[in-house]
Symmetry: C2
Subunit: 151 residues, 2 copies
DNA sequence: TATATTCTTGACAAGATTTGTCAAGAATAG
DNA sequence: CTATTCTTGACAAATCTTGTCAAGAATATA
């Protein structure tokens, strides 16, 4: 199970796009600057997100990327599986041949962990995370939450 | 968040030790053979498990390793954190300075994921996993479970 | 005591993966 | 026509994982 900066960058970038959902297209240069992600690296990640149907792009001046669906219809798990190829926790890719052709002692454990993590990531949309981020980051010292609309 | 074969080997080896809890000491050679783990590599992992107080060792003929506590008192999470040093999912090691000194948009998301995974791993003892492994691996075709004591 | 066994420690190396870069090209707005 | 921006393929450095090795220390047993 490998969740690397690749997946984290992709999610952060997608969250940025979700924050500016009303804007038309956002360039990699802007995103790179705002989120401190190396531009050419982001380029590479966005290839996968576009192939997965999560982003729409447009070339030329004023071009860039935007979400291809509303932010509440895009799950964190979809973004991660578009860029990470080693999220599976089992040694055998779920095939059950992890110990001399049959299941190793821990096979069910890793399978259960997989399901747990997948559920976690598939239960959360970009909108969910953004709302949560806003609320918690604005929690005051006295522990009263200051609720403000995202944006 | 990196769960590598290092952690998986360590858990598998510990499960083997738990299965033979009544035996005195088990050598790396035996473990390596039974679980198909490279001996010298296992050596390296067992250093960490011993330092973490999970294993007890004894040198000389008939020597080897055994669990330092009953298998129901050793959690999977303890084993993994003894050998894996990059299980944290946040970019900032939880410090909250992941984006120009303050929390990145996804900070809470990764923190929540961390907690989820940690709970999962800390809720399960070696004994739990072994019991589960026995039950499920003996599930028959007709979906009736054949319950047999571990051993 | 001698010997075989087994852990202990430190260091090293090959391979894979991640992370990041670059350049040439294609599309498009103004 | 020109500047902008994505698109694609390839490449390279850094890091990490995985695995190996050798010399040494402890210990059971004969």
């Amino acid at each position: 199970m490998h969740l690397t900066t690749k997946g984290k960058y992709a999610v952060t970038a997608a969250l940025d796009l979700a924050m500016h959902e009303n804007n038309d297209f956002i360039s990699i240069a802007d995103l790179s600057l705002r989120q401190s992600i190396p531009g050419p690296y982001l380029e590479q990640l966005f290839r996968n997100l576009r192939k997965a149907g999560i982003l729409t792009s447009h070339r030329g001046p004023g071009g860039g990327y935007k979400l291809s669906r509303p932010s509440n219809e895009i799950k964190i798990g979809q973004i991660i599986s578009a860029v990470e190829d080693r999220m599976d926790a089992t040694q055998c890719s779920g095939e059950g041949n992890c110990s001399a052709g049959s299941k190793c002692l821990a096979h069910n454990l890793w399978t259960d962990l997989n399901n747990q993590v997948q559920s976690f990531l598939m239960d959360r949309s970009l909108e969910d995370v953004l709302r949560d981020s806003n609320n918690k980051s604005l929690t005051l010292n006295n522990n009263k939450k200051l609720l403000i609309a995202a944006g």
